[in-house]
């Protein structure tokens, strides 16, 4: 094939055309280099300070540790999911099972979720500060962070749940109705279990976003390193925020190690969601 083309085209033109292949491979290599560059940069600089004490020990003025930020991050993940997942899943059920496509309300909800998903995190930060911290008078608190993040990840959960519910085949629903089950029973016992893997993948994706988020948390949950005594009313930095604080304070060595822990978490979350996504894909292939 290529030889034929060489005959048909002048050699010069042919070589010019081949530049596309060269450039596209160079572009792909650039992507790989930036990926490896960032990962290696964090690993090489992060490992020297990595210790059991840094992750689990108590923070002192001289040597900050990330035990409280890690704890805060876990708390925030748990409660954010506790709020956003039920609301998101129920919204998706409404959109797919209870209301028809052309319904005006469905259109409104879709516009709302699309707009929410396009809002950058700094706007969520401002909103969280103006509404939860100041207007409701919660002050900097984990609670304010949790509610702000819940709104932020809601579109992700709605979208993914909707997609996975839509891919549940209608024959399953019909079979359930045929056996005398009502709508609610069909939704909870048939549709949701079949869509559960997609929902789970969405949850993991959301965890990744919560872990990596910094702007929206700094101005709602605050930046302190200690474990608060007030539960959800106390303020506290998450892991990503603690990294920012360490950079601002000039404790670069500690920031590297916090970055290492952060990036390891993110990569694990990412691989897990890819693996889950693959499994979901396999299942559909078999069904069709």
């Amino acid at each position: 094939m290529d030889e034929l083309n060489v005959i048909l085209l002048s050699k010069q033109k042919f070589e010019k055309a081949k530049l596309l292949k060269l450039f596209s491979i160079i572009a792909a290599i650039l992507v790989v280099i930036s990926f490896l560059g960032i990962i290696i940069f964090i690993i090489i600089n992060g490992i020297p300070n990595l210790s059991f004490n840094f992750i689990f020990g108590e923070t002192t003025a001289r040597a900050p540790t990330i035990s409280a930020p890690v704890y805060n991050t876990l708390i925030i993940i748990f409660f954010t999911l506790l709020i956003a997942v039920p609301i998101g899943v129920c919204t998706a059920i409404t959109l797919t099972e209870y209301l028809k496509r052309g319904n005006k309300f469905v259109g409104l909800v879709k516009i709302a979720t699309e707009t929410l998903s396009g809002i950058p995190s700094i706007i969520y930060a401002l909103f969280g500060m103006v509404f939860f911290v100041k207007f409701l008078g919660w002050g900097y608190s984990l609670k304010a962070g949790i509610f702000t993040l819940s709104i932020m990840i809601l579109p992700t959960i709605i979208r993914a749940t909707e997609d996975s519910i839509k891919s549940v085949s209608d024959s399953l629903r019909e079979a359930s109705y045929g056996l005398g089950a009502g709508k609610l029973r069909t939704v909870t016992k048939v549709v949701l279990p079949s869509a559960s893997k997609g929902i789970f993948a969405a949850i993991i994706l959301s965890i990744g976003r919560i872990v990596g988020e910094s702007a929206a948390v700094i101005f709602t949950a605050g930046t302190t390193f200690n474990k608060g005594a007030l539960g959800l009313n106390s303020q506290g930095a998450t892991l990503a925020v603690s990294m920012y604080v360490l950079i601002e304070r000039g404790m670069i060595d500690y920031a590297y190690t916090a970055a290492l822990v952060l990036i390891v978490c993110v990569i694990c979350i990412n691989l897990l969601s890819t693996a889950l996504g693959k499994k979901v894909g396999d299942k559909y292939d078999k069904n069709n």
Binding site: I25, A27, G118, I123, A255, I267
Partner: protein, 293 residues
């Protein structure tokens, strides 16, 4: 027994629909609170002074954000210069030039790139790229450059936006019917010519969407830029001089701002919010146009 079942069904429906109202309520609340808190400061400062004033000096009572708006545009443009060629070419490589195994590896890498928190990108830029840019500016004979600024900001943002552009472009290219490729090849065009003259034009609306989405992200990105743009609200003398954009101004000053200064920062957020709304609206129009066309 039947009545009870009916009531449960009704109740369930009500609960489901109430949940769906939540996202509408959320977006309305966000709009109301941003406008209610953002507009008073704009009124006090005067909309012309606010949007077109080029001096931002809260302690002297000067609140002009023109430099930040220009900064946001510069950085978004720089980000596109970096990310569009690399992103589209990588998408071509993934779809047309590499085997299944390499494709899987590349896609995994791109997924992880998409998941890396922006603060880590910023950290990387601050430690590795800023000193490099300072050296470069010195070699080029640009004096007084700190290294942080548009140059590093564009590269970092460019890398961050790559996954969006690559993923959507790959989908767009893969959606071009195979017959296009076969037809073009049958007419004697070599693969490269087919890609440039047939495949990419056919996929252009998808690629364009990816670019708009990427731009949206570039406008809104905060934490990475906060670490690599430097901190001075002036028109930058070169791409190696420090500067400020809308998001960075908010993140750097919000924690200590008070009074009118605090309100003005919320107004900056409002300007940004309107920017983003215009963006998602135009994206929607483009999508609609594609469906009709």
């Amino acid at each position: 027994m039947k009545d009870k079942k009916l009531i449960t069904e009704k109740l369930a429906k009500i609960i489901f629909i109430t949940a769906a109202v939540f996202s509408i309520a959320a977006i309305i609340t966000i709009c109301i609170f941003l406008f209610a808190n953002g507009i008073p400061a704009i009124r006090k400062i005067g909309i012309i002074n606010f949007l077109f004033g080029s001096v931002w000096n809260p302690s002297a009572g000067k609140y002009g954000i023109l430099t930040m708006i220009v900064g946001t545009i510069y950085v978004a443009a720089g980000c596109l210069i970096v990310s569009v060629p690399v992103g589209v070419l990588t998408a071509v490589c993934i779809t047309k030039y590499c085997g299944k195994k390499i494709k899987a590896v590349l896609e995994q890498i791109i997924n992880i790139l998409a998941g890396i928190p922006s603060i880590i990108y910023g950290f990387f830029g601050m430690i590795i790229l800023v000193p490099f840019a300072k050296e470069l500016a010195y070699i080029l004979g640009i004096s007084g450059a700190s290294g942080s600024g548009i140059f590093v900001g564009s590269i970092i943002l460019g890398i961050m936006v790559l996954p969006t552009i690559i993923n959507l472009s790959v989908t767009a290219i893969e959606n071009v019917p195979k017959s296009y490729f076969e037809g073009s090849t049958a007419l004697g065009a070599i693969k490269e010519r087919t890609i440039v003259k047939v495949i990419l034009p056919a996929a252009k609306s998808g690629i364009f969407t990816s670019i708009i989405l990427g731009t949206g992200r570039a406008i809104g990105e905060t934490m990475a830029l906060a670490l690599v743009l430097g901190n001075s609200a002036t028109f930058p003398k070169s791409i190696f001089h420090s500067m400020e954009n809308l998001t960075v101004a908010i993140v750097k000053e919000l924690s200590y701002a008070e009074g009118l200064h605090y309100e003005a920062l919320i107004s900056i957020g409002l300007v940004l919010f309107v920017f983003i709304l215009i963006f998602s609206f135009s994206l929607k129009l483009i999508k609609k146009g594609n469906k009709n066309g």
